[in-house]
């Protein structure tokens, strides 16, 4: 990384001595190529996240039906294809939401009322920019990193976007001029900021483990093998941090058992009570996209990301000596599929938690955040530091 930036500065100096025009042209072309590549990577990622959110809506309905011994969604069909209700959540629901009236209550702040769902959905979607979904791919002499934005400060970018997610909740409640909404948004924002600390501290201990803020580097480090057999995934080094992160992540996504901000039995629908049509769907989607973000982060940081055990850049190398060479495209596809499978597993895991546990009381949520997560996370950071430094000698 450092050598690359030096090289770049060198280029810049020669450009100045040359007086620019062809060099500047070359640089502009290169910049647009980079932007084009980024767009090509960003498009499928965003589309995948959107459809995964839809699929999760279906998994949630069918899953809850399974747990509660019902049939669940089974109505809408397109040309006779019902897909056991998958058509409902993927196509019929969004279309229905789009054609519904967008009601803005009296004396509400109209601009902020419209802005709130956008502000709520935006930061969670852009978090996917730094999540690596594969290793590198060589295309025509160019090395393409399978990650939309390879940032050196990836973890802090995630944290920054998570801290901006509070504004959707705050605005949604404030702009509606409704008591339930405002109560929900105050509860929601207090809860989100409380668990942000626990999340930040559990990430600190992971940064210490890997010695880097770069998510791609974290995943690469997890490709090593302990004793030649066991993949060196983060969970083996930091089980406590994993539990803390998962707990904080679920609390951040404001779902049961942490769904105080939208508790149906008390607050109608919480901070988005006064939303209808597509804006309501956007708040709803935010929840599912947040589930996906948490699943993707858990996968990346604790479960090896796109690493399939024993799969290297040129194929499988099994610990018993056998190996299987594969072309790099196949390897890349395997990595992306592995990543997606892991993410889907953790999404389903969160849905299982959501339908198994009852809602906490607000005092319990706050007590868990401040008197549970925070001290444990601090102790975990301390323990990590002592162990690593002691072994280092």
């Amino acid at each position: 990384m450092q050598s690359r930036s030096e090289q770049h500065h060198g280029e810049r100096d020669t450009e100045q001595t040359l007086g620019a025009s062809p060099a500047v042209k070359r640089r502009v072309v290169r910049m647009w190529t980079e932007a084009g590549i980024a767009a090509i990577k960003a498009l499928p990622v965003i589309l995948m996240v959107f459809s995964l959110a839809g699929i999760l809506g279906w998994v949630e309905r069918k899953g809850s039906a399974l747990i509660q011994d019902r049939i669940g969604a089974n109505r809408a069909s397109i040309f006779g294809f019902a897909g056991a209700g998958l058509v409902n959540t993927l196509f019929a629901d969004p279309l229905k939401f789009l054609t519904k009236e967008d009601i803005i209550p009296l004396r509400a702040d109209r601009l902020l009322h419209t802005l709130a769902p956008c502000v709520s959905l935006f930061p969670v979607l852009v978090t996917f920019a730094v999540i690596p979904f594969g290793d590198v791919l060589q295309v025509g002499g160019r090395t393409i990193n399978l990650q939309v934005a390879p940032l050196g400060i990836g973890v802090l970018y995630v944290l920054a976007m998570a801290s901006l997610a509070v504004y959707g909740v705050v605005l949604g409640g404030w702009a509606s001029n409704d008591r339930f909404s405002l109560m929900g948004s105050i509860r929601g924002s207090a809860q989100m900021v409380s668990y942000e600390i626990g999340m930040g501290l559990s990430l600190v201990s992971m940064v210490m483990t890997y010695g880097s803020l770069d998510l791609q580097e974290m995943v690469r480090a997890q490709g090593a093998l302990i004793g030649g057999w066991i993949p060196a995934w983060g969970i083996l080094y930091q089980p406590v941090a994993f539990l803390l992160f998962l707990c904080a992540g679920i609390a951040e996504s404001k779902r049961v058992p942490f769904d105080l901000p939208e508790a149906e039995s008390e607050l109608v629908s919480g901070y988005f009570t006064e939303y209808s049509g597509i804006k309501h769907l956007m708040f709803f989607m935010t929840d599912f996209v947040e589930v996906t973000v948490v699943a993707a982060l858990v996968t990346t940081i604790f479960f090896g990301g796109w690493q399939l055990p024993y799969l290297g850049r040129d194929g499988f190398h099994f610990p018993w000596g056998a190996s299987l060479m594969l072309p790099q495209v196949i390897v890349a596809v395997l990595q992306v599929l592995t990543f997606m499978a892991k993410v889907f597993f953790f999404c389903c895991f969160q849905i299982l938690i959501r339908w198994s546990l009852p809602r906490f009381r607000y005092d319990q949520v706050m007590r868990l955040g401040w008197k549970g997560l925070l001290p444990i996370a601090l102790l975990n950071v301390l323990a990590t530091a002592v162990i690593v430094l002691a072994f280092q000698g």
């Binding site: 852009v126 597509i278 956007m282 007590r367 430094l389």
Partner: protein, 118 residues
Amino acid sequence: MIEQYLPVLVIFCFTGAIVAAMVSIGRLIGPSRPNPAKSEPFECGNLPSGSAWGRFSVKFYMTAILFIVFDVEVVFLYPWAVLFRRLGWFGFAEVMVFGAVLGLALLYVWRKGALEWD
């Protein structure tokens, strides 16, 4: 260095466009037939009395203050976490002193009951 952030700019524009499109398509396609009863804020059928923007418990404010202080602590821990192997035991001692003082702060608010919700 700013070149590194070009993809971030791309995905920001992209996501912004999608989000804006969703809201505006909903506006265009959806009907708009407001009437007084529909525009009332929802209060389970009762007519709302007074403004919804009432005052709130100072507890929420306490939570936000605690959040700021510990957020700053977390933020100071990140540079240390990246470099703590090189900084060694001396860096560890520095951060321990820092953490101990903030631990005192946590102990203080704990004892004062600012973390209690009833």
